[in-house]
Amino acid sequence: MIRSNYGFETSVTDDGLLCVYLYGEIDHHGAVGLREDLDKLIMRERPRRLVLNLSRIEFMDSAGLGLLMGRGRLMRELGGVTVLAAPNPRVMKILHLAGMERFFEIEDAPKGERI
């Protein structure tokens, strides 16, 4: 069995906020499993606001961009919004290259949120 190269932790609030703290590497290999995991989580929780915390992502390429765009699309279909939180400089570089600011709110981690 090939070990996965990513992981995540979650927190959910009563007012519909789902925070997903991603870590590891998001490449094409990891995106397959991560997509399934995130979609199950989103469909189960039906959040109004999904915050993807990217501070612990060690590597992300354009497969990661596709993953984020797909999750953003799913959330929009469900009437919710997606926020990309606390991207480190390397992740921010590729987000900026793709113009992801046009599709997502990108912010530092809100106060009180762990990084």
């Binding site: 190269n5 490449d27 290999h29 995106a31 290259l97 793709a98």
Partner: protein
């Protein structure tokens, strides 16, 4: 006559099966070899990302429905920097110009960003793509690296 080692370019050649679990292997191997040039952290991250894109293209597009190998060569340039070639014997690209357009993707499912070549072009100093349908594709990435004096 003994070979003059100072005149020999340093070069790494790697052949990996086109399996997605080897994307990280390719990144790590190329990064380790490129470290000989003393790149900055940012330069090394850029190289890893560009290599990841090229290798992923081989897996996702070149050998879409088949299996095959990916041939990676990393050459350290005398003037400082690296030249990385990633070659496959897959299906080839019909229209390279179109494939290089940002956001162009053949994915109907909406899960691919179409940014692979754009990342390569922006994170490296030079990108060259050679392809023949049915014969395969060669991607050559060049980056001048090293700390300023």
């Amino acid at each position: 006559m003994r070979e003059d080692r100072s005149k020999r370019d340093n070069c790494m050649r790697l052949c990996l099966p086109a399996l997605s679990e080897n994307e990280g292997v390719a990144r790590a191997a190329v990064a380790a070899f490129c470290s000989l040039c003393d790149p900055t952290v940012t330069e090394l991250a850029d190289i890893k990302c560009a290599v990841s894109e090229a290798v992923t293209n081989c897996i996702v597009h070149a050998y879409r429905e088949t299996s095959g190998d990916i041939y990676i060569t990393v050459r350290l340039l005398r003037e400082g920097g690296v030249r990385i070639s990633i070659r496959d014997r897959g299906c080839g690209i019909e229209d390279v110009g179109r494939a290089l357009e940002p956001l162009f993707t053949t994915d109907a499912g909406g899960e691919r960003s179409g940014m692979g070549f754009t990342v390569m072009e922006n994170f490296m100093d030079r990108l060259a793509v050679y392809s023949r349908p049915g014969r395969g594709t060669l991607v050559v990435l060049t980056k001048h690296v090293g700390r300023e004096g």
